[in-house]
Amino acid sequence: MAAIPVQPVQTARRRWPRRFSLGRSALARREARWGLLFIGPWIIGFLAFTLLPLLASLVFVFSNISLSSDETFRFVGLTNIRNMLADRQVWEALGVTFKFAALNLPIAIVIPFAVALVLNSKYLVGSTFFRTFFFMPYVIPFVSGVLAWQGMLNLETGWVNVVLRFFGVQNPPDWLGDAATIYPSLAFIGLWGIGAGVIVNLAGLRGVPTELYDAAHIDGAGWWKSLRHVTLPMMSPVIFYSLILGIVDVLQYFLVPLVLYNGSGEPGGSTLFFNLILYKHAFAYQNFAYAATLAWLLFLITLGITLIVFRTARYWVYYRGDDR
């Protein structure tokens, strides 16, 4: 005990109620102190870069803080929220974001799963080679990827339309220039980021016990029924994880259109995503109070949707060992 260096944590501890004490024995206390010391950087980071900013932005919501005006800081009550509720652009941007999410989310979940199924097939020769190159675009900086795809989807010179014309399509779509095709095109560009999802799904598939497929076969299940009644339930934790992360990501989507159209919202306002509006208020107009209001709206929407999905989890997500 005497050998233990006295640390500030210990002096602070004495004033704490017993249930907050670091442990019963001297050894346990020593271990706890070291543990807290090692996770210290994260605790500081969590306070400085997550918790305090989170609360500060909530304070911003009720303030007039803005770099674009000379007003002194004061609280303005519900003004920002009232302005937001009356701001048509905000609701249109939410609509844009939800429309894109409705298209992109299923794609972002199903395609990696499907690619993983393909890579796991016994009929695929050289699956390591395929895995490597299906993954590779994941490491390409997204600005590069977006510009490469922008060329690929060009109305006149893009290879997609070159191929379509070759197969006799007279007037192929202007993929990135037409509001009717912009969302599928953006979802398509997003496929270059499926690498991580594919690997995660693949690892999940390889973890499904073979006996389950044998048992399903004995019960007379074919490929489809095995997929439906064995693979999907066993993969549901992976799908659940992809779904939650996918929701958080897609609701914040705006960087690809920002690079493509420099934030102009082309074509025809169809890429005025919620986060683009937020970004403009925060960093172009530097109206922090209003931007924080939008950020909290997005945060609450994200939280609400993820909580609902979490609620549904017990009906469809199967964790091994739950039965015991």
Binding site: G45, Y123, T132, T210, L227, V238, V248, L298
Partner: protein
């Protein structure tokens, strides 16, 4: 039992069970006919997947083809997809333009030697010795032929115009500092979570994981405001300093890996009188090296890809910006010259691709740990 499973799968479409099946006993009992059928299936299936993969990666090939295009192709809709110049042919000491000439129902590339209003004289570049060919019609209605000629000079031009050495240096320096911060802090924090018991550990760890699901927009505005107050906006500090305070993904990856290292090793070190820090340096880090390398490489790629951070913190300082931001800016200036844009695009992605191809096993392992074990 395993045989039965294989037989079932062989009858249907390719399914997930096959990975185990291929590792199982040989399918010799099923006879040569079935094996031949499987062989055909594998061939067709692999070919289809190969075509899909080719399409998936074709933007890279297009970027390369476009990046080598000649200046005279810019804005020429009749110019080919590949890099090309208008074809010419040297005949008897003079240079003549080559045209696509329809003769007897098929198009031939011929050099126009003598222009005429109603008929012109051509020579066949492939068979000049045969002499002049007379073609009836107006040569003005002919289109010029193109010949393959990559223009590597585009890369040199972009290298200068975009300020590549500067951008590359900035990107590499940012990636280096951010990676050092991430590796140092995440190793310490992961060690704390993996090896020490303390009150609230489970709650703190849950909190750590929960930050993965927190939309960054809700914290970025006050953070930006504070960095602005500190005078850090317009410097690298807002990008580098936070990495020294750990992040959820990498702590999770390292912690999962540390949990697989047997505790007996630490205990042996402790008996020899090593303190927790000594144990970390001499026992844990050498053992966890593969995971640490994974975190480092992930972070280099992440830093290379990062766009929003440098965009908001370095808008006013082009001389400090990394490649991603420099390329996006270059695109707004030169989007009409796609050869330059695509050259810049490839110059931005080449280093992460090389890193990936060299360390691909590390990548795959790292993703499996963070993605699956949750």
């Amino acid at each position: 039992m395993a045989q039965a499973g294989v037989a079932a799968q062989a009858g249907g479409m390719p399914g997930p069970v096959e990975a185990e099946a291929t590792a199982g006993p040989p399918r010799s009992r099923e006879g040569p006919r079935r094996r031949r059928r499987d062989w055909w299936r594998a061939l067709i299936f692999t070919a289809v997947v190969g075509i899909i993969l080719a399409g998936f990666l074709s933007p890279l090939l297009r970027a390369l083809a476009v990046s080598l295009r000649q200046p005279e192709q810019v804005g020429q809709l009749d110019s080919p997809q590949w890099p090309a110049v208008h074809a010419t042919f040297d005949y008897q000491g003079k240079t003549y333009d080559v045209y696509e000439v329809p003769i007897d129902g098929k198009v031939q590339d011929l050099a126009l030697v003598k222009k005429g209003r109603e008929a012109s004289q051509f020579v066949d570049p492939g068979n000049a010795a045969a002499g002049l060919i007379t073609w009836e019609g107006s040569w003005r209605n002919l289109t010029r032929a193109w010949s393959f000629a990559p223009d590597w000079n585009n890369y040199a031009v972009v290298w200068d115009q975009i300020g590549y050495p500067r951008l590359l240096f900035n990107t590499a320096a940012l990636a280096l500092f951010e990676t050092i911060g991430t590796v140092l802090s995440c190793t310490l924090v992961a060690y704390g979570f993996a090896r020490f018991r303390f009150p609230g550990r489970a709650i703190l760890f849950t909190l750590l994981i929960a930050t993965i699901f927190l939309p960054y927009v809700v914290t970025i505005i006050p953070t930006y405001a504070v960095f602005l107050k500190l005078g850090w906006v317009g410097t690298w500090l807002p990008l580098i300093i936070p990495t020294f305070f750990a992040n959820a993904y990498d702590v999770f990856l390292l912690r999962q890996y540390l949990l697989t290292i047997p505790r007996e090793m630490d205990e042996a070190a402790a008996i020899d009188g090593a303190g927790p820090f000594r144990t970390l340096v001499s026992v844990i880090i050498p053992q966890a090296w593969p995971a640490i390398v994974a975190v480092a490489i992930f972070h280099v790629v992440y830093a290379w890809n990062d766009f929003l951070g440098p965009l908001i913190y370095l808008t006013t300082k082009p001389e400090l910006q990394p490649l991603a931001v420099g390329l996006a800016h270059f695109n707004t200036l030169h989007y009409r010259n796609q050869a330059f844009i695509q050259a810049g695009t490839l110059m931005t992605m080449i280093i992460p691709i090389i890193l990936f191809l060299v360390f691909q096993r590390v990548f795959v392992k790292g993703i499996v740990i963070t993605g699956v074990e949750k």
